[in-house]
């Protein structure tokens, strides 16, 4: 994306409501279509199958929303950012809405790697008394099990406040820990410990947990270039 004759517009958008359930690919496709509907003078790649020169920020998992997601689009000519935003908003659906845009340096880092620190806010179905983070989390990647150490990814503490928790995860070159995977592991870990410390079960054949700890929603609320910025 370093063609100095082109204008590089970075657009911020929200992925919210039921559209949090869209996959990264679905979001990308929807936004590309919105850019076309907005009739922006987008650049098209050369080669066998020409396509729009658009690049997306770090992917969100299915089910995770975001308030400040980004994509970059290369434009053939200058369009006032306010005009571009208006056109994009007119072409967007409410839950996948462009919220701001600004030109950035052609040499700036790609949208997908510019902000390795993601801050999330998750809401539980009920306020948990406490939340325990397991030291190791087993994930399945390409049919292979892999053990991730949560401390390698978690930046700062997990701040529990009523029925919400706020935390920051760092994406590594070698991979990252998904926020939904982390939270599920936390819920399981907390409940497993809770069950052992709770009063012994009257009925020994059934282990009852009062009400299972479940996540209602996860939203990425900030993407930062540095840990300091993320924790500020």
């Amino acid at each position: 994306m370093t063609d100095s004759s082109l204008f590089r517009l970075r657009v911020e958008f929200g992925k919210q409501g039921r559209l949090a359930l869209l996959s990264h690919l679905e979001v990308a496709r929807a936004l590309e279509r919105a850019v076309r509907r907005a009739n922006l003078p987008f650049a098209v790649s050369k080669g066998f199958s020409p396509h729009m020169r658009i690049a997306f920020g770090a992917a969100l998992p299915v089910g995770v929303g975001g308030t400040s997601e980004i994509f970059d689009i290369l434009l053939l000519r200058y369009v006032r950012p306010s005009d571009a935003l208006q056109a994009l908003q007119h072409a967007s659906v409410p839950d996948l809405m462009c919220t701001s845009c600004a030109y950035i340096e052609p040499t700036a880092k790609a949208a997908s790697v510019a902000y390795p620190f993601s801050t999330y806010v998750a809401r539980f179905t009920e306020a948990p008394v406490r939340l325990e983070v397991p030291a190791e989390i087993t994930v399945v990647r390409k049919k292979k099990e892999k053990v991730l150490r949560s401390e390698e990814f978690l930046v700062g503490p997990m701040l529990l406040d009523g029925d919400t928790v706020r935390f920051t995860l760092q994406a590594k070159d070698t991979g990252s820990l998904r926020p939904d995977v982390l939270l599920r592991a936390c819920c399981e870990h907390t409940m497993a410990n809770g069950a052992s410390s709770a009063e012994p079960d009257v009925d020994s054949s059934i282990t009852t947990t009062p009400s299972p700890l479940r996540v209602a929603s996860i939203t990425r609320v900030r993407q930062s270039a540095t840990a300091e910025e993320a924790l500020r």
Binding site: R18, L19, L21, L22, S23, A34, R37, F48, S49, M52
Partner: protein, 685 residues
Amino acid sequence: MELTNLWPRLEPLLADAERPARYLNHEFGCVLKSDADFNFCMVYPDTYELGQANQALRILVNCVNAQPGMAAQRAFLPAPHMCDVLRDEGIPLFSIEGCAPLAEFDAVGITLPHELAATNVLEVLDLSGIPLHASERTDTDPFVIAGGPCAYNPEPYAPFFDAFNIGEGERAMPEGLDVMRRMKAQGASRADILLALAQLEGWYVPSLYRWLDEAEAQERGSWIEPVRDGLPTVITKRLFEEFAESPGWEPCIVPFTEVVHDRLNVEVLRGCARGCRFCQAGMMYRPVRERSADNVVDSVLEGLRCTGYDEVSLTSLSSTDHSQIADILMRLNEACDGKGVRISVPSQRLDSFGVDMAELVAGQKKGGLTFAPEAGTQRLRDVINKNVTEDDLFSAIDAAFAAGWRRCKLYFMIGLPTETDDDIKGIASLAQRAYDRAKAAVPPEQRGSVRMSVSCALFVPKAQTPFQWDGQIAPEESLRRVALLRHSVKYRAVDVHWHDPDTSFIEAAMSRAGRDAAAWVEAAWRAGARFDAWSECFSRQAWEEACEQTGFDPAVVAQTTYPTDYVMPWSHISCGVSVRWLAHERKLAGLERTTPDCTFERCSACGACPSLGTDNQLAAPRTNAKSTAIKPDRNDSGATFNAGSASFEESGTVQPDTVPTCGGDMAEKAGSCMRADYGEGERYD
């Protein structure tokens, strides 16, 4: 009545659902009318990604929404696992726009896109909590109506539907719904409303007709008998008479998740008169009506602007037959230059002109090209009236491989009437010679990349075609013929694929059966059959169990060959083409004589124009453009070209036809949105 919103109950289930985007709604372009007193839900009896791009769904939802007081929503069958989850949770099937239970709608329309959707119809009704049989429904249940290709033989579905809309629904559907709405508002009973509906043009209400037995039917010339006076005994399809002048662009929904045919679809023409004798689409969409080049070009550009799609398909049964196709493609190429937009023409003529047209839109990227010679020998191609010669095919191959294509897929049918082992060996021979031609057209250093593949489907006799009287070969025999074909192909670069004969067998039975098949379908569904078009879901065992329970013998229905004076179970449904002409065509097939395309040559007297009170409507005269030079044709006067009419008795000797031909049945297959088509490369990929 305010419809219930099931979203709060559905939402918690979506976190674990596969592809939740199927159930979300909120797509760009979807409409939820709030000021309606009559609610209609249009259902595609398969999943969102197979049904969303369906033309009938888009057109009819728009048509109904355009009516004051009426609102239309879409619904699809959830994926198999999600169907089970909904059942377990006690959540009924819901519409997309309003997430409302189907049972609360005033009318539910289910399109019948292909013969393997029957059990899914029952799955839709059962998940909705709507009684499966029309006879069990009361005034509080919705009217359940059907349409689409399989409505041309409605009988295997008859007990499940209150009414069938035969033919094109643009006008007929809003008219029918209007009858329901007005009479319902006046407090009329369900029976009275259905009686009124049965008297509307293009509507068939099966419960008002007694089903006769075979002997009675053959004696009387019809399988049905009206239960009261004043009902039509033949139901003729409805046409959308303003098709040619109507704009090719109409609002459409842009889905989030990837669906089949995920692109702007602009219908450039309707109908195909090539007259392939096995092809149902070629019979039932007559006459041929073209939208003008101006209409098509404007529609495409407007559609791209409004949807943001980067691909447009010019759809029809034979788009390269459009009299102004070269003009259309050149103007679109010019208008879309530099925007990264792909233009595709899903059904191309099997000749160098077809390749020229393919090249016009392919740009630099040339994947595979598909041609459908359908039969391996000239004799058999004459039998089926596939008016294409070896030279046509070879000139197409020469042009395609010289232009840069490296892969070619050839479609054939196995088990066509009169087929012998020589015809099967002919497929191998044709494919191998096509491979030799392709290699010769390519620079020596690239010859290693040349691929030719052969795809075989089992012939399915379809209602309303000249081959409707011909039986299908048994699945075991088809496997023998496939084995013979595989044995006959000596080249390693030519690979052979074939379609599972078990599903083709069910298709044939469903295509030709009468009302007695409905019990069999229901028993199969009760035994677990659903999503029969998905090879991973098809259960031969369920259908066999259903045979044991009901005594229905699908082999007799699928495999019996009848004389052409035998009255078939759909003889009371007319697509305009006369049965006499179908029988005449069957006779010509036996004589290996071909019939020309009336949009290029003289009228073949099929009967469609006079019985429907119309003519072919061409934007300009069609010519056999065989030259490779493309001349822009700016003659887009939009004048109606009247091919005139004649009767086949007068037509005398039928000359061997030289009209190059398209993948007519190919277009039908792609349009059917079968699971097997999902993800399959576009013809010009």
